[in-house]
């Protein structure tokens, strides 16, 4: 008898500890997802234009899941200490629902990352950059975003300036190849925004043009955000799994 009592108390202690950790992780998840949602990086308009901004959906779900985890962990602590069957049953069922939501968020963030290949951005850039009759506001946004991106990160195109040579584009249909082998934003610019050496830029002399592609600069922040949401959610769910199994075992051992 005494031994099962000790087991009971140890299990209670472990469950309370587990729930405390879940509560804290819930707050951390909420904080991380609020950061991702409110801190769109420079390439956000491009993401919106590709209609592949699942990362933001995943982050919004993460905010609410984090708050739910915090509330449920308090419920769990109360239920474990009081050894109340009804409270713990409610806790288990609500936790399973939260588990399912967080699983959806984590998988969405991970899948979204896989779909953002360089070709997606390349095609969008060639179709819309400096489009002569912009269909809607998002074409202007794409042009402005690319100009900002290329100036600030000293890069050109997605893979490099040769993107503009290797493929036809909206830009090419309005700007002759001899005068604009690549856009002026690919040139090294002085303080006034004019190319330092226009001929050097057109020739492709190193030092007067940006030879790197922008894909790394773009995908870096997006990747960090998305994998942060996905993997942190995964870690929380693994811990929650253990706590829930323990709670179910504890529940089945409570005297009615």
């Amino acid at each position: 008898m005494a031994k099962s009592d000790d087991c009971m108390h140890i299990l209670q202690g472990l469950l309370v500890f587990g729930n405390v950790v879940i509560g804290m992780c819930g707050i951390a998840l909420t904080a991380e997802c609020i950061y991702v949602v409110s801190n769109p990086h420079g390439a956000y308009p491009l993401l919106k234009a590709t209609e592949s901004s699942g990362i933001y959906a995943a982050a919004w779900i993460g905010i609410f899941v984090g708050l739910a985890l915090f509330a449920l962990s308090i419920l769990g602590i109360i239920g474990v200490i009081k050894a109340s069957r009804t409270l713990l049953l409610v806790y288990i069922i609500l936790m399973l629902i939260t588990f399912a939501f967080e699983m959806a968020s984590s998988i969405t963030a991970a899948t979204n990352q896989d779909s953002l290949t360089p070709n997606v951005f390349l095609k969008q850039m060639l179709e819309r950059y400096q489009k002569s009759e912009p269909n809607n506001n998002s074409d202007n946004e794409v042009t402005k975003t690319w100009d900002e991106l290329m100036r600030q990160n000293h890069c050109c195109g997605v893979n490099g300036p040769s993107d503009w040579q290797n493929y036809t584009s909206a830009f090419r249909s309005t700007h002759s190849d001899a005068d604009y082998p690549w856009p002026r934003a690919c040139c090294v610019l002085d303080a006034k925004g004019l190319p330092v050496n226009l001929d050097g830029c057109k020739l492709g002399v190193s030092g007067y043009y940006n030879s790197n592609g922008c894909y790394d600069a773009m995908s870096g922040p997006v990747n960090a955000h998305a994998w942060g949401v996905a993997w942190f959610g995964f870690a929380i769910l693994c811990w929650t799994f253990c706590v829930l199994l323990g709670t179910m075992f504890y529940w089945s051992g409570i005297e009615y």
């Binding site: 099962s4 069922i93 036809t168 492709g204 996905a230 995964f234 829930l244």
Partner: protein, 226 residues
Amino acid sequence: ELGTKPALTQDLEGVTTATTFVLEQPRCIFGNFSKAVIWLVVALDKDAPAFNNSAEPGTPETAFQSFPNAVSAYMTLNATLASYPCPKPAGDITVLRVGSETSCATDVSRPTCNGPLPGPGPYRVKFLALEGSVPVAETAWSAPITLRTAKPLSSISTAGGGHSAGMIAITSILSILLAILLAALVAMLFSCGSDSCGSSTFSKPESVSVQRYNTHHVYDQAAARL
């Protein structure tokens, strides 16, 4: 005929584009012809052997604007030897960009225009030194130069990049965990639905007897009041 051939420059991103290419300047090649004017002759690869050195620059027979339909080779980029001083100062970029003048491309009054080339080629070029209209020296024809062709935009495939290992790991592990939890929930409810749980594992006899004691006590008190 001088043995050297005109060559494309090295180490420039824009050495060939869709309508231009960049040649090394003919430095230290034409030795003693200080009065000569050096012209660049551009022809399609197949028309190069048929070119006659007595062709005069600036005439309709060598006008850029009629190339390549009516004219098989055009002459452009004229310069005196003074423009190509020898020896070449180290560190200077000495290039000739063929195809850079867009303003005169359709202006027939400028037949020696250095206009953008009309197609991907292949082209061959040579330098020809003329004194008056007498050819005095020339280089050999260059190797064939092919320009870049742009692939159509629609050929870029944006099919999904496949699934990374991380995404597969997350999906499969989480699905398994959820399945285990649901199975455990079902097992828990079924085996404990009839309140038969608890009696064999964690029994708390002291608390049970305390409950009964309280019940009796409350009933006694209620009876006593009455």
